[in-house]
Symmetry: C2
């Protein structure tokens, strides 16, 4: 669950760092939340900003405030300060970091004239996507992709397959979305995949507890009647909000007498709400299931089959592209937070003792914006460096992780992410689950802030271990030793009769536990039994006393040729909807001098159609040419859209620009009358045109779309066509 496309997991799960998967979503939530908290005395809205202050000086002072707090965090860590103390300091650090980032974005904007409402108009109007079931009133957090969005999504998936699966010969699987409860109990989701929720005691309306508390505190803070002392108190609470559990949030709700929005009714105590959609599989009502909250588990439960398919060898990677579901309490933010979404996940299984990657040399010179945990603590900017340097310097934990980060970087550029608005941010130590070695998020800057679009984590052996434990299956790989080795083996053979007599109904689980002890565990048990005659064994947290009558310990040396290892897993995890949305923002353009002419400059690879076919007018003689050309384009595999509607050619170009079609073919009267027949080919971004023989068009557009040829090269091969498409100068 690297990605939190719905980005809403309560931090109390994550920052506790106990069980679940990596804590993505947390930082972003902070990002959306903490702005203007660390510097309450400064106001950053356009009107009241302290404009006299020099930008650089302001940023420098903010950076040093981050660094100051970073030093405090480091010092706490060095002296092994209590977790609670560290959490408080980290929350403050994040608040300062967040503020710095926002300020940087404001003073040095990457996309100064971007207007989200204009983009949203375009996307809705041309049905890239829109709310599902709108004629029935719509459902929050559910979206339908229309023809344009659907084609882009399909192209994104095809590009992903080509870039990752084909390139690294990953084993792709397609697993059930319906998932029985025990699988998600083992993964930790049943217990901990929750958000805190409060309800209106009368209407039953639900709110995310932290959202509600935050909104209330912020309103209170702005209230003129609030004293300065109270404001400072509120500020403290806001900064630490992510550290609060249900008890603390309940206290704040009671203390500030918070009520339900709109109705002003009382609120219930915050309660955990599990974010998975539950259902019953089969008719008996005994088989509870969930819609999967991520695709990764399907790979883990198939590990043995995949290993066998790979002829028993590691490393190998498996991948899955598919839907996942999260029952958000109250989703907003368009495609960024949804209840049903497409993911693509890779689980790359490696030898824990050797995380080198055979193809690392191919990517080691890829230069990326890395935002290390250290630089985040120091208030520095992300740093451009090659992945080779980053691995050498230990900034990125290992080659395999680095390899995938570089491949992710290449992929995102390929599909149209602006490199200036892309960075890899390392998780701070308390953001990471305790078992993870290292974790980096590919973040894209959008009008919603820096949004995590891809996560890339080294998750150690956590997932396989959990499922092995839950099922009693050995999820291991065998590694051939360079030479045979004598190893000490210690086995515990339970005496079922004796155990049954003492523990009856509980004997079975105890027996199972004893049969699957690791060598170290068995040796420890043996030592205790040898010295004391009995020992305590924990089964699911419950202690059992085992004495020498109940077990027989076998301790011997054995010659082995292979060793069994639990592979570690490197997990790149992509939120496809978020990536698409980032591409939309990064490719949104307005024609110079014409505010109304918006368009999408997405790469041909991702464009929903590669080409439009436009007759100059509705003259019937154009018909046969259009039909013939359309067939030839279809045969060449060029997706295209014919627009025979009335409207000037300029207006139709504008329409095709809006749906991101990179190339446009216009059939005009010269096409009909001159021989050999030719037509104009227009490129979307430059609006330049060339004149090309009709017979050459399908292959040309195909090459242009597949990146075999670029537009400049095409321009050098065919004569320019100079006619202006509108009255305006371009």
């Amino acid at each position: 669950m690297k990605i939190a496309p719905a980005g809403s997991l309560g931090h109390r799960i994550w920052s506790a760092g106990v069980l679940l998967r990596s804590p993505s979503g947390l930082v972003e939530r902070l990002r959306l939340r903490v702005f203007s908290q660390a510097y309450p005395s400064l106001k950053f809205s356009g009107k009241t900003m302290v404009e006299t202050k020099d930008h650089d000086t302001l940023l420098a002072s903010m950076r040093s405030r981050v660094q100051e707090q970073g030093d405090i965090v480091r010092a706490l860590k060095n002296r092994n300060a209590p977790d609670s103390e560290l959490k408080v300091a980290l929350a403050e650090l994040k608040a300062r970091k967040k503020l710095l980032e926002e300020k940087e974005a404001e003073l040095v904007p990457l996309s100064p004239n971007f207007d989200r409402s204009k983009l949203e108009d375009l996307l809705k109007q041309r049905f890239f996507y829109d709310q599902s079931f709108a004629i029935y009133g719509g459902i929050q957090g559910l979206y339908d992709y229309g023809p344009m969005g659907c084609a882009m999504k399909a192209n994104l998936i095809a590009a992903w397959r080509q870039h990752f699966i084909l390139e690294d010969q990953l084993l792709e699987v397609d697993c059930s979305m319906l998932t029985p409860a025990p699988v998600l109990q083992a993964s930790g989701h049943v217990e901990r995949f929750t958000d805190l929720m409060v309800k209106d005691t009368k209407t039953g309306e639900c709110f995310r507890a932290d959202h509600l508390v935050k909104a209330n505190l912020e309103a209170k803070q702005k209230d003129k009647k609030t004293t300065e002392v109270e404001k400072q108190e509120i500020q403290k609470l806001l900064t630490q909000l992510d550290n609060f559990g249900s008890k603390e949030l309940d206290e704040i709700i009671r203390r500030y007498e918070m009520k339900a929005p709109n109705t002003n009714n009382d609120l219930t105590e915050p309660q955990d709400f599990n974010l998975m959609f539950a259902t019953m599989i089969g008719p008996t009502g005994n088989c509870k299931g969930y819609l999967r909250p991520e695709t990764a588990q399907g790979i883990f439960v198939n590990f043995q089959r995949l290993l066998q398919f790979n002829q028993g060898r590691i490393p190998f990677g498996a991948a899955q592209i598919g839907s996942a579901f999260r029952n958000e309490i109250s989703p907003r933010s368009g495609l960024i937070r949804v209840r049903e979404f497409a993911m693509a996940e890779i689980e790359y299984f490696v030898d824990p003792k050797n995380k080198q990657h055979p193809k690392f040399d191919r990517v080691c010179n890829v230069s990326m914006a890395l935002y290390s945990a250290c630089d985040q603590m120091d208030g520095n900017m992300p740093r451009k460096m090659t992945i080779g340097e980053a691995v050498d310097q230990g900034i990125v934990a290992n080659e395999t992780l680095g390899y995938f980060m570089a491949r992710i970087h290449q992929f995102l550029l390929l599909i149209g992410i602006d490199p200036q608005r892309l960075r890899f941010r390392q998780h701070l130590s308390n953001e990471m689950a305790h078992y993870a070695c290292d974790c980096w998020d590919a973040e894209c800057q959008t009008s919603y802030g820096w949004v995590e679009c891809v996560g890339c984590a080294d998750r150690s052996c956590f997932d396989l271990t959990q499922h092995a434990r839950a099922t009693g299956t050995r999820l291991v790989a065998e590694k051939r030793l360079t030479e045979p080795r004598m190893v000490r083996v210690c086995e515990c053979v339970p005496n079922k009769q004796a155990l049954g007599k003492t523990y009856r109904g509980e004997a079975k689980s105890l027996t199972e536990r004893l049969s699957t002890l690791t060598v170290d565990e068995a040796l420890e048990l043996k030592a205790t039994l040898d010295s004391v005659g009995e020992a305590e064994v924990l089964v699911d947290g419950k202690p059992f006393i085992v004495d020498i009558s109940m077990v027989k310990m076998k301790d011997y040396e054995s010659k082995v040729h292979v060793e069994e290892i639990v592979p570690n897993v490197i997990e790149p995890s992509f939120g496809l909807g978020r990536i698409l949305y980032a591409v939309f923002e990064h490719s949104f353009r307005v024609r110079e001098g014409d505010e109304q002419r918006t368009y999408l400059s997405v790469p041909p690879l991702l464009a929903p159609y590669k080409c439009s076919v436009l007759p100059l007018s509705s003259h019937p003689d154009f018909g046969p040419f259009i039909r013939q050309l359309s067939d030839a384009l279809t045969k060449a595999g060029v997706t295209h859209r014919i627009d025979e509607s009335s409207g000037s050619i300029g207006r139709r170009y504008a329409r095709t620009d809006q749906i991101a079609i990179p190339y446009g073919i216009t059939i005009d009267f010269d096409t009909l009358n001159k021989s050999p027949a030719s037509a104009t080919l227009r490129e979307r971004d430059s609006m330049k045109q060339i004149r090309v023989p009709i017979s050459a068009l399908p292959a040309l557009v195909s090459d242009l779309s597949n990146g075999i040829l670029d537009w400049t090269e095409a321009q050098s091969r065919f004569p320019a066509f100079e006619q202006q498409e509108t009255g305006k100068q371009n």
Copy 2:
């Protein structure tokens, strides 16, 4: 819902012909069930078959029995016999037809040596697909596709997109699977998408009522203690089983004292079990939702957006590829009946008065095996004819339906369905939903019988009308009239105040109803009000009295340039899992003279990898060549699998044959030592090899895989390579 991949809908929904979508699954169920019922005195198992009887005579006599019953059905129809009488006669007809078909399959087998267990071994062993969550004990009806199955499924989808979406410029959408209840209430699924179920009264175990009754009756029939009279009685019940509802089934259960299998406990009365997976959307518990049971509804609820995207014009087609879910009571039959499955559906919206298709002339000569309703009633075999003839003769209802049937036919051959084991079967009149005009199923013969893989129906305006009614939205298209027309308009303007006074809380829905009367309804209302002064109006079945004080009727003529029409919809609907399974069966082969060497002869288009790359031995010098070739293949877009494992080259060929890889490249010592470097290329089905320069291989394999070149042509271009791959002569 043309497809019933889970094939389990209780016939009482369908044959009642009242509301839901086409009744697929019914006939197949009959097919699986009725065998050996119509001729109980003949036994068809190998041992006891009446082998003396001449095949032709036997079949002819069976055919005439079908025809005899077909004539009875026709006679009943002609004299408008009661529905109940017709049902009984049809059940008998189907039983006879079924028996005839089975006999034909037995006497003239299309695949005489097919051994399903061998195919299943291969599919499981090489992880094409397997039961989901097996390490947790598995869940019935859920399957995971492994790397090979997943690649084939992805290739199937890509081929489908190319063949249907690109060719006909269909508007593809990708809609939410989570669906709020009102949508599926309107479509009829909430009320009627059910099977009858009985439970063990003590353990709660569930059984499909009809399955349980059938198994019990059949056992009873075979019981030696059963008298001849009783046997005849049972035979009657078995033949009519599909006509029975819960009451009749309950009577049978009580009469024959049927008990739960295994436990012998009592059974509950049969009760309706809805086959949709239910869940709650959002945290309130107020928004009930279901996982969609088909993808079609997503298209219908987006009709307006799609029409707008198509600039208001019909005809146009929309398509969706995605997952759907059915909570089968007790699924069996592998991929044929599953709880989660992939579908691809097209909804082609046409003018009800013009169902011609502009591209019909391109397919009119496609020759197909058509099994018309008439031929089914006459006991005839399916008939080879062109779709042009079929439409001309009125066997297929219209050109658009015929166009898609031909395109489906082409597609199925393209992806590897054996034309000898493919037929299009027309629904008998009582199989069709009452609103459908015509419906044909593309059926593939498998070891499970003739399995419906694609349905193709003209569904008239049913779906749009249902959603328009449920939402009060106008789901219509405008058709420009050749010349303006004067039309009579009649509108009802409700007097809200007067209505509110009389009907209070109910006034709102009544007002809505009155505001959306059709012209005919309004004219009728006006006539009644004019003559009687009041009229009864039904809202959701409840009558309201409306008098002249409550409404104002406007009745006038108006000049219109367009007319509004509710488009009809032609729906081709593909069950992708079933199609894949049929391809597996149709492409399964055993090497002559070697029973153990099984392989899959699927077309390169669908093959999971296009090519294998095999070093002759594990000699380290092969490494660089392999790497270089692999890169070149990747660049050329050729999916491939490297097998560097030990094992003879013959054994490795056998392994790649099993996973359907059509071409194999072997690097041998000549590759290393001779210049220019060359390698052998082997074709899977013929096992013939040619010697090709390494530099030419990527393009050659790419062309072969894409169907640009065939193997014979490749053989003529490059020298044959004669070395035998095994000791055996090929």
